[in-house]
Symmetry: C2
Subunit: 264 residues, 2 copies
Amino acid sequence: MQEKRRPRILVTNDDGMFAPGIKALVEVAIEFGEVIVVAPDSPQSGKGHAVTLSQPLRLNKVNVFPGVDAYECSGTPVDCVKLAKHIIFKNQSIDLCLSGINHGSNASINIIYSGTMSAAMEASLEGIPSIGLSLMDFSFDADFLVAQNYTRHLIRNVINEGLGNCNLLNVNIPKLPADEIQGIRVCRQAKGRWIEEFSEALDPRGQKYYWLTGRFQIEDEQSDTDIWALDNGYISVVPSGHDLTMHESIDELKHLENITYAIT
Amino acid sequence: MQEKRRPRILVTNDDGMFAPGIKALVEVAIEFGEVIVVAPDSPQSGKGHAVTLSQPLRLNKVNVFPGVDAYECSGTPVDCVKLAKHIIFKNQSIDLCLSGINHGSNASINIIYSGTMSAAMEASLEGIPSIGLSLMDFSFDADFLVAQNYTRHLIRNVINEGLGNCNLLNVNIPKLPADEIQGIRVCRQAKGRWIEEFSEALDPRGQKYYWLTGRFQIEDEQSDTDIWALDNGYISVVPSGHDLTMHESIDELKHLENITYAIT
């Protein structure tokens, strides 16, 4: 055990370096290893799995967390992970990626829109065990103490036991005092979607603009989902991957193979 | 049959209104119904499932395709679909969404980074049968005739037969003459990832910048994948969804439920 080097841990998020959530995460991460922080230099909520292809990227070292190397990146959360791995860690192995702690839920379909989860997913694609963490509290003054406590236990467990065939956990934490949290549920992503609405208005030049808003609609009644867990006071942990294939539809749609090229 | 209204078809892409691929797609789509085009006003390759939350969105009617209503949108491909549904179609049902034809492959893990596929996925989340189409030819002068022919057959099939429980097809077409295409394979997303590289240089002010580049690495040898199909001259059709849960890992990670809150 003495010869084992300390784990190398990458911490990132989508809210940027000055979000209270990333500070809470760094405070826990440094208990476990050598931490490097690479976070976006502007808010990147809802950026999904976007990468920056048509622009150059900048990386600036900043002094934010005492004793921890931290870098602001001009790109998306996924860009942060790519730059961290290749430029900062110089392709040395990274033992753990932690993304968050996000302000607001990334349960259900939100995993697809979330910059926080996309950063963790990008790291997991590189083979790095990764945890994306979200607290269901949008307040700047959110209390992260309970979230930090469970995060600490999860990190310890993942470092000691690994994640098996899975490289990615989507962890959502309800806004509850410690004694009201019912525990952890390992569960599946609930079916749900956003019912969009657009706030429509005129700019000072009289030109119309639209601003995206909406509300989440759950379309899943079962008790083995992340939404059920959160609604019932549990922390949800969804083992997640990258395969979007609907395997059960492959046979059902085999008839499409009968299509042949033909002049119509 | 006479009373049935013509299908309402939304066409979008991630390369913008003047990409040859969207013109090729519109030409086929108008054979099947009432087409409305909503496409980004700037290139949006690699934008994944990003949505625009911190900016207003603009929508401008443009005259690009004779007899077809077309709108440029200032946002991402996913924004285009959301605005199309709520502002342009005014929440009337849309019968089909076609996204593309993209210049370059969206097979394997590229579905996660692709603006083309994310637009189709967003429409599928709204319950709209959706097809994302890509031709493996980056040239502006790419020949879309073969792609158009197969697209025509696919659209006819989807309009007549539906997609069953699936709402999303990821279709990739190799760059081959018609007589060298071996047919269609309905298959799964291959495991693979990008090996990133960063081109590193100094700007005119002497500041360092990084530009993302890389190469795709297949990590899947089996013959039931999209990459195998494309490598062997087939058009790949992957029935796709939105569930990122690794269901087989839920039991394996149940031990995480033993974690309890504790002062450490």
